[in-house]
Amino acid sequence: MNNRFPGLINSRRFKNTGFQAISKFQAGYQTQYLQVATRASFTERRNFQVSQLGAKSLLPRSPVADENSDNFQGMRSKRTLEIWKMGIVNYLDALKLQEKLASKRKLGVITDTLLSLQHPPTYTLGKRRTYHNLLIPESELSAMGANLHYTERGGDITFHGPRQAILYPILSLREAGLGARKYVENLEATMVRLSSLYNVKVHAGESGQTGVWVGERKIGAIGVRISSGITSHGLAFNIDPDLSFFKHIVPCGITDKGVTSLRMEAEMELPEDEVIHEQLVSCFTQLFGYEHVVWKDRSFFP
């Protein structure tokens, strides 16, 4: 790892780009990046208190370092992912946040972002509005404490609720070099890898049955929207949600198959949800090949 950096750091590309852009981010991000830089050849820098370093002291700042400049783009070739740990978030709030982040990502103002969260009991419909797969009248939903939302994502009707791990990656598919099909396959692989940590034998669905299955029961679902090459929505993995909510829909429009959860399939004690979320995110970052990862705690999301 150390050997790679001298070549990159001394390159003109690195010197002219990356660093100025980083000064735009919060101190936490800046600190992380500088740590990587100082892990290069010179041992005496290793113990340097990174927080004492100001951007000014290391490299000259460009007079016009605005967020849309090319300097900023140079940084992205390092495949950075910013992860937001968010706790339980209302569905509409999460939707608005994704739209905001997706348009920022499209402009190149932010890096690839991943939201890790859970929802209160919510039913959602995809772009095809397969309303017929909701088996009870909408009026009964509020009595149950659930909401219904219409979305622009692919996929059929599904349920989200507490104890179901949700990941919403906001990525640029073009920069990742992925098409829609490959992206979805990677999302399936993420859930497969997580399940194997708990020795649960899962498999990704065959054609037409996207998702992650244990035998005939679905443990993880996917519904994605790609607009101008930027992804939103994502995957939902059942840790231990209340499965009775699924009785009121034909999940994903597939009539003869059931739903299950990690709690029901794993033969071992499960750790806290937070740990499982972190493991799921780790599987994601490994499969998608992210080199730099920045965690942000956003549980106090306004």
Partner: protein
């Protein structure tokens, strides 16, 4: 091919590991000579001031089996570079952008019952909309067949 060799040489000089690409290097998807192409993988066939729009073979291959096509209304306005509809495949809805501006005069109703036409025949029966162009000059900024072929190769070779 040459760019791939250079890429791997540069990578080993900088001592970065190359991940093996997930897809096998496949020969470029079919590209028709007399069409124009946008960098968001839509094609347009110009006939005077009328244009037919669809998605390319490269696009349908990367999408997977299309199960649903969202079509605009006849009479709707489309703007170059903006989305006018979407295709759904493998639980992912992807926006389709228009390479030209104008008014939609016809949509391919067949796609409502047979969305798979987009995969099977992306340039012929899988056409999506017909547009009455408001500015035929826009077509000159689109890519030709050879340019588009090279564009696709560069995109596929990126990893």
């Amino acid at each position: 091919m040459a760019s791939r060799l250079w890429g791997s040489r540069a990578a080993s000089y900088l001592r970065i590991s190359i991940k093996p690409s997930f897809n096998f290097y496949r020969p470029f998807s079919s590209v028709l000579k007399d069409l124009k192409y946008a960098d968001t993988h839509e094609w347009v066939k110009v006939d005077g001031s009328s244009a037919t729009v669809g998605i390319t073979d490269h696009a349908q291959d990367h999408l997977g089996d299309v199960v649903y096509v969202e079509l605009p209304e006849v009479g709707a306005t489309v703007t170059k570079g903006d989305s006018f509809g979407a295709v759904e495949s493998v639980k992912a809805t992807s926006d389709v952008n228009s390479p030209v501006s104008g008014k939609v005069v016809e949509v391919n109703g067949e796609l409502s019952s047979s969305p798979g036409l987009v995969n099977a025949s992306p340039y012929e029966e899988g056409w999506i909309i017909k547009v009455e162009m408001s500015d035929p000059g826009e077509v000159s900024s689109l890519m030709g067949a050879d340019q588009y072929t090279q564009f696709c190769e560069e995109e596929d070779n990126k990893h």
